[in-house]
Each structure stands twice: as C-alpha cells, then as structure tokens.
Subunit: 482 residues, 2 copies
Amino acid sequence: MSAAHELVLSDEIVSAVDAIQGEATEFLKTIVAIDSTLDKGEEEVQTTILKLLQETLGSGADVEASGAKSTQPNCFDVERIPVILDKIKDKRGFSPVDWNYDESKFNVVASYQGGSSDGSEGSNKALLLQGHVDVVPANESDGWTHPPFSPIIKDGRMYGRGSGDMKAGVVAMIYAVIALRRIGYLPRTNLTICTVIEEECTGNGALAANHTSLLPFSDTTKTAVIIPEPFNFIVNAQMGVLWFNAKITGKPCHVLQTSAGSNAIEGAFSLFAALKVLEEKYNEPSNRHAVYEGIDHPVNFNLGKIEGGNWASSVPSSCRFEARVGFWPGIKIEDVKRDIESTLNDEANKLGLGLEIAYRGFQADGAILLPDFVGGEASGKKSLQTDFVDSLQKCYKTASAGDESNAGRKLLVKPITCTCDARFYSNLYQNSDNVVVTCLGPESDSIHGVDESVSLKSFRDCMVTIALFINEWCGLEKEETQ
Amino acid sequence: MSAAHELVLSDEIVSAVDAIQGEATEFLKTIVAIDSTLDKGEEEVQTTILKLLQETLGSGADVEASGAKSTQPNCFDVERIPVILDKIKDKRGFSPVDWNYDESKFNVVASYQGGSSDGSEGSNKALLLQGHVDVVPANESDGWTHPPFSPIIKDGRMYGRGSGDMKAGVVAMIYAVIALRRIGYLPRTNLTICTVIEEECTGNGALAANHTSLLPFSDTTKTAVIIPEPFNFIVNAQMGVLWFNAKITGKPCHVLQTSAGSNAIEGAFSLFAALKVLEEKYNEPSNRHAVYEGIDHPVNFNLGKIEGGNWASSVPSSCRFEARVGFWPGIKIEDVKRDIESTLNDEANKLGLGLEIAYRGFQADGAILLPDFVGGEASGKKSLQTDFVDSLQKCYKTASAGDESNAGRKLLVKPITCTCDARFYSNLYQNSDNVVVTCLGPESDSIHGVDESVSLKSFRDCMVTIALFINEWCGLEKEETQ
C-alpha cells in the first residue's frame, strides 16, 4: 500500500465518518434516553444495539426471530450472548452479586471473519472493540439542569447520564465500522464488536464475554482491544477496586438515654473515618505503584451510599453503608479485604458496635494495561504495545487535524484511578504477547456526576480514530457486490 | 369520709383493679399488636379503644353508628374528635408537618360529667387522664428477640413496641376507671379520658384536644392531669425538642475525581460533628436550667435517620438527615433554630456544600410541669401542686404496698430529658392556679429501642395508683342502679 493510496484512503474514511455524524448522534441520543442502570434498562439498550448491528452490519434479517447465524457473506454475525452465573462464578475476576442473571442479562457480539474470502491475510491480526451499556444511577433532584435521561445538545456537547460513560464511546466504535461499510469497506482481518453489561458494578459482563469463543483471540493472532471509555488519552494502567458494604448495629434506645457509641449512624461515621486513615496509608509515596508517579491521590475510598435509622427521636440501631476502595495494581484483593476488615473491626470493637461486612460487586484487580509504557513513554524496544500505541497516536493525529485548538496533539499515555473492563485483556488474564489493550474515548465531563456530558467533536474524533485504526490494524478491503 | 371508710374503700379499689388485670393485660396485648407508627395503625388503635370505652364506660350503643351523644345517665360520652389542620395550624405549640390530616387522624375522648346528679360537688375539681397511642418505628431486623408487634409475656414483662411507651399507661388509666365502675363507682367530679395521636412526632394530637371544649378545664375548676408515660417517677419538667432535616448537596462526580468536601455523606458527618459542639455548649453548667441539676447530659442531639448516595463508585451528590435537638425549658425555639442554622451554614460554607434546612415535626417548648418542685422536693408552701403530688405519693404508696422490694417507696420527683404532651398542660399553655400536670407511669425498659418492655407488676401498680387517685381527687359515688 503506497503512501499516496494511504492518504486518499484516510480522507475517504474521514469523510465517511463525517457523513454519518447526524445518524450516530441521533442513535447516541436514543440510547442515552434509556436508563440502563443495573437492573433497569440494560436489556433495552442491548436490544436496541442488537437491532442496529443486525440492520447495518449483519444480514439485516431479524436475528431475534431467526436465532440462527447469518449465512450471508460479508456480514457480521450478530448474537445475543447470555450472562450465565454458573459459567462465570468460579472464574478468576468474578465479582459476587446478590441479584439474578436471567434472560434480561446479556452481552451483544457482532463478529466478522476477515480474510476468509482469499485466505491470504487476516489470520495474524484482529481487533476487538468493546464497550459497556450500563450506567450509574442519576437523580434529577440531585441538581441536574435537564432530566438525566432526556439528553439534550448544547454548545457542542450532549448532556445526559451515560452520554460520556460510555454510550458515546459505544456509538463511536459501532458507527466507525458502519461508516466504513457505507463506503464499501470491510476489515481484512477478524473484527469483533462487543457491548457488555455491568461494567459499573462487577465486570461480570466482560468476564462472561471472555469465556465465550466469540472473541478474536488465538495463539497465532495479535489482537488489539480498544475500549472507548471516556478518557481522552491512552490508558496504561488502572486501579484495583473492591466494593463492600458494612452493617453497623448500635444499642438502640430512646434519645433520652443517648450515650456515646450506641448510635449506629455515628458509628458508621467513626468506622469510615478509620478507613480514611488506611486510605492515606495506601497513598503514601512508599506504598505507591510506579505507574501512578505524579498522579495526585490515586487511591480513593468512597462512601457511596448510606442508610440508617428510622426516627429523629430514636437512637438509630442500625446503619448500612456501601463503599468503594481503590488499591494499587499488584496488590492482592485478599490483602485489601484483610486491611479493611481489621480496620473496621478494631474500630467497631473500640466503640462497642456490632459489625457485619459483606462483599457485593467489584472485586477488580488493578492492572497494568501497557507495561511497556509505565512511565508514560515507551521504554524503548519495539513491541506489540508500541505498534498499537503508535498506530493510535497516528490515527488520532489525523482525526483531530481539523481541530485548530487540538491539531496534531499527541495523546498522553497515563493511568486512570478507577477500574474498567480493560483489566480482562491485560496480562493478568491474557497472553500479552498476543493481546494488547487500552482505553481511548471521547472527552467527557462529570461522569458519574450531575450534568454529565460528552463533547460531540471529540465523539466524532474518536469515531474517526477508530475507523482509521481499523484500516491501520486490520486493513480494509472493498466489499464485493452481491 | 372517715379514716375507716377510706381504708375499706382503698382495699375495695385495690381488689377491683387486681380482679381486672387479666382483661387489661389482654387488651394491652391487643393494642401492642397494632403497629401504630405514624400513618400506620393510629386509626386502628383509636377505633379499638373507642369501642372498649363505649362498651365499658359509655352507653354501650354503637357510638360510631349513632354518632350522637349518649343520653343515658351514669355514662361517659365517648367521642371521636378529628384532628383538623385548620383548627390548630396557627395555634401556639403547633408542629409543622408534611402529611395530611384526614379522617384517619383523630383523638378519642370519653368524658364524664360528675356531680350532675345532686349538684353538691363536682364543680371545683376535675381529672384528665391522657395518653398517646402512636409508637415509634420498630424493625425486627434491628435485633428484636421476638417480632415487635407480636407481644409476648416473659418473666413478668410484656415485650413489644409501644408496650411501655405508652400503651401500658393508656390501658392502665382506662382500666382504672373500668375497675371502679365494675364495683359500682363513678367519680363525683368531671373525669375525662383522652387518647391522642402523634405524641412521638408533633404533639399535634394533644394540641387539637386542647382546642376542643371537651377537656375538663374552667376558671372555677382545679384540674389534675395525669399522663402515664413510662416514667416510674413524678415528672417535674421536660426538655424542649426541635426536629429538623438537612439536605446536603456536594459536587457529585466519579470517585476517580474524589476530593475533600464534595462528598455529601462525608459532608453530613462534618455538619453533625459541628452540631455536637453546640450540644456540648448547651450542656455546659453555666447554660444549664436549675431543674436539671445533677442530671447527666440532659441536652441530646440525635442524628436519627440518614440517607444518601446511590452507588458505591459515585461520589454522593446528596445526603439527607433528620435530627432531634434538645434544649432547656425557657429557651425560645426561634433561638435554637438560629443556633442550628448558623452552626450548619458556617460548616457548609467552609466545606463548599449546599445546604437546605427544613423543619418538620416537633417544635416543642421545654416546660416546667411542677414549678413548686424544681429541686425535686416541694419548696414549702402548700399549693395545688403539693396537693397533687402528695395525693399521688399516697396512692402510689398504697398501690405498691404489696411489693416487698418496693413497699412504701416514695416516688422521686425529677425531670425527663425528652418531651411529651404534658407541656400543653404546663403554665406555658394553662393557668397553673387551676391546672396541674405530671407524668407517672409503669416502669419500662428500652423505649424507642429493641426489645422494649413494660413490667406488668408496675402496670398494675400504676392502674391501682390512678384508681386510688380518682378517689382522692374526684371522690367516688355509688352508681345508682337504673
């Protein structure tokens, strides 16, 4: 492929993506409008995406009705993959839950077998584009300017819960492929699109996807994985995250008998204060992982939810809180649990409080996604990781070329202080000689917060970057007319 | 009335009350089994009591069906008195609410016009026996040995929510009158039984009762009021109580952006910590009211209920708590509000938190119920209060004479560190030359707490005390056979 050809193709791709923006933005609006909080609209979003994939990339037949794989050439196989507890509960990376996995809980996979037409290429490279469809809760009463599930566009940004985290990323990765196909291009190698559930609480959706045979991994394939989470940089590491809940029992009584230590809510305050001391200990420079050098306060303990007591004039007998604990890559979850338990039990004993600790949700290892980029820059030697990052940098540079304020910007390579599904494609779970992963998505604001928004320019740039990367990594070939 | 006659009558009364214990205990069990938390079973308990009063003290006719006052002699008029917001909302002592007063919200009044048969006596003394039927919430999961609304009797105590506070007191005061009537006695003067709602949150039930013409108050009557709350002593004062709720808004965001001050739950902790400093200031000896001399920590601020956040991995944007604040008799509620507001606003401003304070529930003045007994002993001069207290002491001594461990015990006179409906009969609301009030009820344990219970021996002693007091205060006359 000559340089001239490459340039033409890039322009063609950029134009194709630009041409599809209206449609993509409309689809983004459609799925942001669905409240896909855990146990709410995950199923509806997945069904909406399944339909889109089938109509645009699949055979167009009603995959739901036929239930069978498409036999047409040049089509993605679009499937609904149930998340089945028995298949994942004993796997590494499973996070415990207290809810059921029924038929409403499924991932969507659209897979394309590239190179099958001529057999000449396609066997040694592959691409997985993955995103999650669930969102965290949003209550308008928390101060949203507009209802969180009635997306609006203002000053080049779409506002709404999940707009940034990560429905824009999901739509960008899907429409990147659609845009290519609209102008007649299909990847030369295997390409899989996967939308998963439960990234925001367990990662069990991604774990289940990993344990199907549908992902484009093999011992002879170099597979790149891009998860367009709302980080407008190349992610080289993520923190470990553990969720737990604590039930504190005091000695309930009339407020006239109030005495120190018997109030379960005040007990919860004291217990969390003890945890904050542990948080600071984790953050101490001597305990810090090298990849987080220069990052302010990477370990965060968050008291995310609390509920206790039932009457202003009764000393509360019980209080329950849910917390999220961050920890460094390389630290064992069991060690974190032991720290949490001993900290909380010591404090509870001191105060004479009853305490039950339970684990539900995240038991997510911290992970180094790009070990060759621990310092932010490549360590020197050429590798699968440097190929991957160089390609992404190149594609992003082209994608953002039209943006005067941003033109030619090199993406930073840095860690995130939270978790995401990328860990399942790190060297903790995959052979890093064959699989490389990062997150790179549109610039977003206030994710998990009020008035969450995503930049539509960045959404477009992300879509262009992915479309160009498909060309870089997989190669493209003209679809033969049927 | 000779001393010999008096002795015979006392024995007769004690026997009559003892004879009715099984029945009274059964009725207590019946109403403890009704969860009469605000907006739950207040109506059912009141209806049950109304029926009992009508059948035992009233005409026996279905007061609900007839709706008319009994015209039979020697009968109590038993009435359902609706609590109507418009009639109380501008009255002193009203506590604001955010619920409706519909037809399910009513007091029950049974009134007897004594002395009407011969006109010789009955006009210058009267007695009001009042109690509340509402209870505070109880959740079995908080550690109850038995379900809180399935009362059981064990080792001489009845266990169940409301057994002590104050259904035993209510049943004791009603069955004291029933016991007398069973042996043919009716009071010579006016006697009113009143059961009210909402003592545990507002006092608006008692306030509404005050604003009917049914209570036995007049410029020429000396009216004693006994509220058999679960205090096994004579109550000379009660604290002021103010309820408020605070809504704290932080700056919500993903936990990866956690920074000090943005977490609304942690904000609530800080705000309440600031309030605890104010609590200690209120408790300082120099600020203390004389009636609370020697009482440990009378001013209590209680964080009774909290709810905040919705996701372990989202920094909570809002948190709401409900609190109860105690304050001294003589302190103006507006001054307490100002203290609370300035304390909370200062802290919220310091932390950059949003704050809304709202008042719902108690705005209860502190009150000196027995000004002549501020030190616990009468100040010397004989008064309506000393007559009242002396009579109660005498009756209680007789009532508890059979109890070896307790025989002849003189009741303590002391203040309570909470509020109750007695304030409406204090000199804040009534002419203390004509009205005297206290609380005296059965010994109870763990009121507002887990495994609340009441001593059945003390329940009986309380019932005997009230029956004897009716004789002392009102005098008794034999009911004429129809």
